[in-house]
Every structure is written in structure tokens, then in C-alpha cells.
Subunit: 237 residues, 2 copies
DNA sequence: GTGCCGCCTTGATCGAAATCAAGGCTTTGT
DNA sequence: ACAAAGCCTTGATTTCGATCAAGGCGGCAC
């Protein structure tokens, strides 16, 4: 039984990458023949940093890279409303009702599935629908959690929370060494747009954390968390 | 055919109230016998203002009143992360992974359905699962839309956006006269906790909108929007 | 190499919203 | 009627983060 399970994963790795994601995978809901069909219909491709994702990528496993979700105001102010780190599953269209866009932050590798197949399988297999719903509700909880940060946390609490979030979600497969030392895949401007701050404030707060000994900053982008508990005390919740 | 549809709604009004909600209802996904079973198993009850909703209310139609969803920081700072206005359908548990609570803001009337039945029907009827997913995704879009307001809008833009949101969502059945004149079911403190502001700033910005002629304020709680387009210009997006 | 450009840091100053403070109105209880 | 408590408004002052400004560092084209 365990052997069969392993074999199943070995046969269709693109789909099953998402099983290890922070926001659960789908393949556990499907039987072997469904997985084979999905694998056959799937297409892998790459998206360059800065490119907006299209409707063809509605149902995809993010094999590597980071995607940001953004909402822009008319005068150009930008808010990042979420991230997808590999190996997340992307399970929705954007631009549905509100102008929320998905854009690759780094070079991104995707494994996409035709929406017709996913929708047919959802009809045949209620468990798949359950997982998609679960997935959406997790994203909802996460979005609401960040609303509290945006509305009520101070700049330094926002930075501390952000670093802990990245440490939790950074792609472990590509960065196995340590979850407390990682390359930030974001510019200071992206961090600022996520936290509702300016780049100067982000820079200052990071410097402050460094001089307080809570983190080390190597090469601007590479961060090392000296003390997770120190950050947890500073994150306000 | 149209007659049958009408009869269906007439037979099981509590379920179908949510069909008119801003975030779609479910009964369209179910056949007559399923609706009858749901109606039989449903229970109506009231919840007093200030009471937290329990797990028994996971699947409910909000017949009247307003519910707030809150996320608290450890030192007591509060962020309101969403509202449910009648006749919304509530379709999820709270306290799942993050400490988000649902609390009645006004006296609330609910029609609740046992989760066992909803889950069984979801297995039998994929269309019901689709609607629950759609519902969750709409809430997700809404949450992300407000993230942009929290992170990037000024105090006066937040207030303008808030008033327009309430005007769109206020229970039309109970307040049929006009969507531009309504009783705010919230205190200044609730508004502040929703917008990430203080009560003083909320009060000042409302006063400013009044003296600018964009709104009228009667009796503290009753607001009349003099000009929707004026507010739309002030809301930043 | 040199110059340019993008990204980041740090300092000085400014300003929007928070905080502190006082008082008004309405409701509730005695 | 009066007192007390909530809720709201308005004014004075403070503060946190934004804005303005200058410069550093690294990569890249030439």
C-alpha cells in the first residue's frame, strides 16, 4: 500500500509537488487513472520574472519561483495582496470581479492543467471539490490574517511578521539547508508594497533588526534569522 | 417551469433568502426534495448583539442583522476583517487555523443547517460544491480588495470606500427605501477597527464629508449619501 | 577602465493620523 | 429630576512613518 502510494507519486511528479505545499495538494483526492490522465494533459512551461499570469494558468502547480498577487489603485499605488511560493497550487482565475493580477516575481516554472479536465473531475470526484474549497478557505484565512497586520501593526511588527512568513513558506526543496537563512526573492519595493510601507521604512526597520542582532543581512537579499523567537516577540501577535 | 421555481422558493424561504445575497445563494444547486430535506432539518434562531457565533452556525443563512469577523492582536488591538450583511450565506467555520472570530454586531436572525447534511449533499451534488467554492472565492476577492484599502489608502479614501461598501451591501429587504440613506449598524469604534484608524479620525473625516456636502449625518448613526459619484471620486480607485 | 543605472541605505524634515484632553448629547437607572 | 455611563465630536499636541535629499554599491554596456 505504501509502495503503491510512492509509485503513484513517482509517476506523476508535477501534480504531486503541490501535495507538499503549505496549502495542500490535490492528488490525494484522485485515483491512479485520473492522475495518469491529468499528467498526460498537463503542460509544463516557464514564465519570466515580471510577466503577468494568464487564464491558461488557472489550475497550476508552481514548481519553482514566487508569484505575487497585486491590486493597484488608479494613481499607481500598489498593494501586494498575497504570494504563492513553490510548490503551491494555484486554483483560481484572477480579474474575476476585482482588478487583482498575478505576476511572476522570479522566473517561475509551472505545470498547468486544462480547466475542462479539472472541472470534469470535480464533478466525478467530490473529494477534489472539497480540497479546492479547503484551499480557497486557507487562502481566505491568510488574507484576513494579513489584514490585521496592515490595519493594526506598527512598521517594525510588520517587518518581523513578514520575515517569519517568508521563513515558513520559502521553497524548502530548493533551499533545504535551513529555513532561517534564505534569499529574499523580493526587492525592498515589493516588501514595501506588501506591508503598506515605503522602501525607506523597510530599509530602516531591517537595519534596526540587524543592529539589534535579531537578523543578519548578507548581500542585500540574503537574510539570516538569528533568533526566531526574538522575531516572534516583535511581531505583535 | 417558472411557476415551479417560484413555488420552490415559497416552500423553503429560509434557505432561499441567501439566493438574493451579494454572494450568491445555494438553493439553485439543489432539487426540490433536497430543499425539502434541508428545510426540515434547518433551525431558526436569534443571536444577540455582541455574541460570538458558534460552530453550530457554520452553515447558515443570515436572515437579518450584521455579523463582523475579527482578528485580535495579543495586546487587544482589533482588526475587523469582514462583514456579513443579511441575506448573506455563512459557509465556513472560524477559529480554523488563525484566531478569527465571528460576532453579531446587531441582533441577528439565522437559519442554520446541520453540517452533516450539507456535506452529504455536497458529495451527491457537485453543483453545490461549485457554489460553495464560488462563495469562498468571492470572499477572498473581497478580502484582498480591502487589503489594498488598508495598506495604501488615506483616511478619507478609506471612509469614502467604506460608505460605498455599506451602501452596496446593506440589507435591501429591510431598508427598501433607498440604498443611499441607511442606518449604519456600526459604532465609530467598529468603523475604526475595520479601517485601521482611530475613532477620532473616523469622526473627523465623517464631519469633513458632511461639511463638504458629500453626505448628511442624522442622529449619529443614520447616514445619507448626497452624491454617490462624489464619494466614488474620493475613494481612490 | 568609465559611466550609467537600478537598488539600497541613511539623514533631515515634514505631515497625516494618533494621542491626549475636554466637553456635548443621549440613554439608563434611581 | 438628577447622576452616571456610553458614544460622539472637536481642539491641541505629539509621533510615527512619509517625503525629500544625498550618497554608496554592484552590475552592465561600451
Amino acid at each position: 500500500m505504501a509502495v503503491k502510494q510512492d509509485a503513484k507519486h513517482a509517476d506523476v511528479p508535477p501534480i504531486c509537488r503541490s501535495c507538499k505545499a503549505r496549502r495542500g495538494g490535490l492528488c490525494g483526492a484522485l485515483n491512479t487513472s485520473q492522475l495518469a490522465e491529468l499528467a498526460k494533459a498537463s503542460s509544463r512551461h516557464e514564465v519570466l520574472a515580471g510577466t503577468e499570469l494568464s487564464d491558461d494558468e488557472t489550475y497550476s502547480t508552481l514548481l519553482s519561483g514566487v508569484v505575487k498577487l497585486t491590486r493597484n489603485l488608479s494613481d499607481g499605488r500598489q498593494q501586494i495582496v498575497g504570494f504563492h511560493f513553490a510548490p503551491d497550487f494555484l486554483g483560481r482565475q484572477f480579474e474575476a470581479k476585482w482588478p487583482i493580477k498575478a505576476e511572476a516575481l522570479t522566473k517561475v516554472a509551472l505545470c498547468s492543467f486544462p480547466s475542462t479536465i479539472i472541472e470534469r473531475m470535480t464533478n466525478d470526484t467530490p473529494e477534489l471539490g472539497h480540497r479546492l474549497l479547503e484551499h480557497a478557505l486557507n487562502e481566505l484565512d491568510e488574507a484576513r490574517d494579513w489584514m490585521a497586520a496592515l490595519g493594526r501593526k506598527t512598521a517594525s511588527e510588520k517587518i518581523a511578521s513578514f520575515l517569519l512568513m517568508v521563513a515558513r513558506n520559502i521553497d524548502r526543496a530548493n533551499h533545504p539547508a535551513s529555513s532561517t537563512s534564505f534569499d529574499l526573492p523580493l526587492t525592498r519595493a515589493d516588501i514595501a508594497d506588501f506591508l503598506g510601507l515605503t522602501i525607506e521604512t523597510v530599509s530602516r526597520e531591517l537595519s534596526r533588526l540587524r543592529s539589534d542582532g535579531a537578523i543578519q543581512i548578507v548581500n542585500k537579499r540574503h537574510i539570516s534569522l538569528a533568533s526566531t523567537s526574538e522575531l516572534e516577540e516583535r511581531c505583535g501577535d
